[in-house]
């Protein structure tokens, strides 16, 4: 058999770029890059149907109603005393409601809550008993609804930031996971989207 003494011929790699381009174009077409972002909520569980529905008793001062009408008007306040507001004021009203800085009688009461910290110590924080109840009509635009939800989330986030700043000297988003959980327990995201049926007068 004749032995080829010459060097092995190089394979022409000129078309490599074209092949890579083809693959690249395939991936460009077949994949998406969008990151899913959104407002995360937990719905209340459905009460069993055969069971008689219990009235949820919420004291009037602990309830903050946010009504969004079909035309996008927003009313906020306690069940008996509501007023029209602008979207930009919703956040501040909600913050005032959650924090109740002056211990006002018409704003929600607070109960001391013991929270265990990561280092084993206990942290007692006066947790607000307030519940924000968001109600809409069937005609409300989803965009308006999301904007109001966004303002409510922002109020809670800002309160969490303030609490985290006082307790840990850092912003909420910069905390370690354990500390963040502790702050979340101190300021729970209490936004009710199913309307409490009866409001008990006190």
């Amino acid at each position: 058999m004749p032995v080829d003494k010459r060097k092995v011929q190089e394979i022409n790699a000129g078309s490599m770029a074209d092949i890579a381009f083809l693959l690249l174009i395939f991936f460009l077409v077949a994949t998406t890059m969008n990151v899913d972002t959104g407002l995360v909520r937990v719905l209340p569980p459905m009460p069993p149907e055969n069971q008689k529905q219990e009235d949820i008793k919420v004291k009037e001062r602990n309830l903050f109603l946010v009504l969004v009408s079909g035309s996008g008007n927003i009313m906020v306040g306690t069940p008996n005393n509501q007023e029209f507001t602008d979207l930009h004021q919703v956040k501040d009203r909600t913050k005032e409601f959650i924090l109740n800085p002056m211990d006002d009688e018409n704003l929600p009461e607070k109960t001391a809550k013991e929270i265990e910290l990561a280092d084993g110590s206990k942290w007692v924080y006066p947790e607000s008993q307030g519940v924000v109840s968001l109600q809409t009509t069937l005609e409300t635009d989803y965009q308006t609804y999301i904007m109001v939800q966004n303002e409510l989330t922002r109020a809670f986030n800002e309160v969490r930031d303030e609490v985290a700043m006082q307790k840990f000297g850092k912003k909420f988003s910069e905390l370690e996971k354990e500390d963040r959980d502790a702050v979340s327990k101190a300021v729970p995201l209490k936004i009710s989207e199913a309307e409490p049926r009866n409001i008990k007068k006190q």
């Binding site: 994949t31 998406t32 899913d36 972002t37 809409t136 999301i146 989330t153």
Partner: protein
């Protein structure tokens, strides 16, 4: 004094072009995900500033709400529709849909299943509330209102 060369410019070597393209290719392969379903509805997500990233995409199920896409409008009109998987459905099918989605997951992951509501910004709350009630009935309580991040309004 300049030396006069009578040769033209040497051709630029394209030997590294495949490597460059491969790098771009790998970037796209890593940073993107496969398109898994075809959209039959059109939607423009509402905007919000306080959005959170969806933590695990594999645990998410999607419910799309919006007008039928242009090709489908001749057949289905322009009233908002709900899309589950690859077809238009009504709110009554959500129970089955959630059950099927839950079956796909590990038992350990079922509790953290998230339903992502992708609804058009102009949808009325009526249909969204119906979907939400149905999700409560199906006991899929973790939901995420899909919204795109904006810097403020």
């Amino acid at each position: 004094m300049k030396k006069k060369g009578n040769k033209g410019l040497p051709p630029i070597s394209t030997a590294s072009l495949p490597d460059v393209i491969f790098m771009i290719l790998f970037f796209f392969m890593v940073s993107t995900t496969m398109r898994d379903q075809e959209l039959l509805v059109r939607y423009k997500l509402p905007e919000a500033t306080e959005v959170q990233k969806l933590e695990k995409k594999s645990l998410a199920s999607y419910i799309h709400i919006g007008q039928p896409s242009l090709a489908m409008q001749a057949q289905f009109g322009t009233a908002p529709k709900i899309q589950l998987n690859d077809s238009y459905r009504t709110t009554k099918d959500i129970l089955d849909f959630i059950a099927a989605e839950r079956d796909k997951l590990n038992e350990a992951d079922r509790a953290s299943m998230t339903v992502v509501l992708k609804a058009d910004a102009n949808t009325k709350m009526g249909i969204v509330t119906e979907v939400k009630q149905e999700l409560r009935r199906a006991n899929a309580l973790k939901i995420s209102y899909a919204a795109s991040k904006s810097l403020g309004y």
